[in-house]
Subunit: 163 residues, 2 copies
DNA sequence: CGCCGATTGTTGACACGTCAACCTCGCTCG
DNA sequence: CGAGCGAGGTTGACGTGTCAACAATCGGCG
């Protein structure tokens, strides 16, 4: 959302990188805003809520160790802890201590959590599709996708350890 | 930062839009993290702090009506209000009521704010350049830039009014 | 067995952004 | 003139994310 780059772009040092970053901030902020607003409007969930619920939805038995969740989402441990505490308080998930390792805990959706997870998956799919297709035409989308795939591969090869 | 798309991308409905969004989230989160961490490490400023200070740095007399600042940054009014309150408390800026319109106020940097603004501009320029150039090669960068320019133009033409 | 380091999670303090409610001021129109 | 509308700004509550400090547990090694 913030637009540092937009301002830097007007500087004398008009670098391609700075202009690109400025525009990326604007575009990303706009798309993320649209998508998250649609999600909140239609499910009452934040993007973080949906990330957790959909991760659980994707597992075979619909439960995960908090540790797996953390790795899958690439979140900091305290972030996940806060998020799970809030979601437990709202009745979306429940935590049970893991028998094999008492440090860890098993995360499972409640029935309401499950229903919201499915709604979130649908809503997000639609919102992402309409937002992106509203902003880019088919060729641009394909171009963006291949470029991003290369960047992701590059980042993965230089992966930094999680804190 | 959040990775909803990464999870959605593994769904049966493997849309180009969803995959692209997933990757965009990963890439954007990574780059933003690098840049903002560098900024904080070397100046103690957040990206929002830097956005305000650099906006002030770019004006001819280094002061702005809060209203101009809000439009330039495309921020919500309460966001700017909170941000300015925090920055005033830290001695980065000062606010004086505007003589022509008592509702508005003039924002000006303190000397410390000015110095940090210049540091922030330097650090951000370098961090953006190294982060982007580390992730994309020159051709990709140019390609990204032209694509984003088209998207930004498209968004501007469908501009929604600020709340 | 017992200790120590590594891993896992929790907590509290803080910064940030959004929403809704509110205040204040300027302006228009009856 | 004055009532009310609208724009600009503030505030408080809340959800969110990060950092640092802490607690609990596991695992290996003497």
């Amino acid at each position: 959302m913030s637009t540092i780059g937009a301002i830097l772009a007007s500087m004398d040092r008009c670098d391609a990188a700075i202009i690109a970053w400025s525009r990326l901030q604007v575009v990303y902020g706009h798309l993320a805003g649209q998508i998250n607003r649609a999600l909140y409007r239609e499910t009452g969930l934040s993007d973080a809520d949906a990330a957790v619920l959909i991760a659980l939805l994707e597992t075979p038995n619909e439960s995960l160790h908090s540790f797996e969740l953390r790795c899958g989402l690439a979140w900091e441990k305290s972030r996940l802890s806060h998020q799970l505490r809030r979601m437990e308080a709202r009745g979306l998930i429940e935590r049970t201590t893991c028998p094999e390792d008492n440090r860890s805990s098993l995360i499972r959706m409640t029935p309401e959590g499950f229903e919201l997870a499915e709604r979130a998956r649908t809503v997000l799919g639609r919102a992402i599709r309409t937002s992106l297709e509203g902003a880019l035409d088919g060729d641009q989308l394909a171009e963006l996708e291949t470029m991003l795939a290369a960047v992701v591969a590059h980042l993965d090869s230089h992966a930094e350890p999680l804190s």
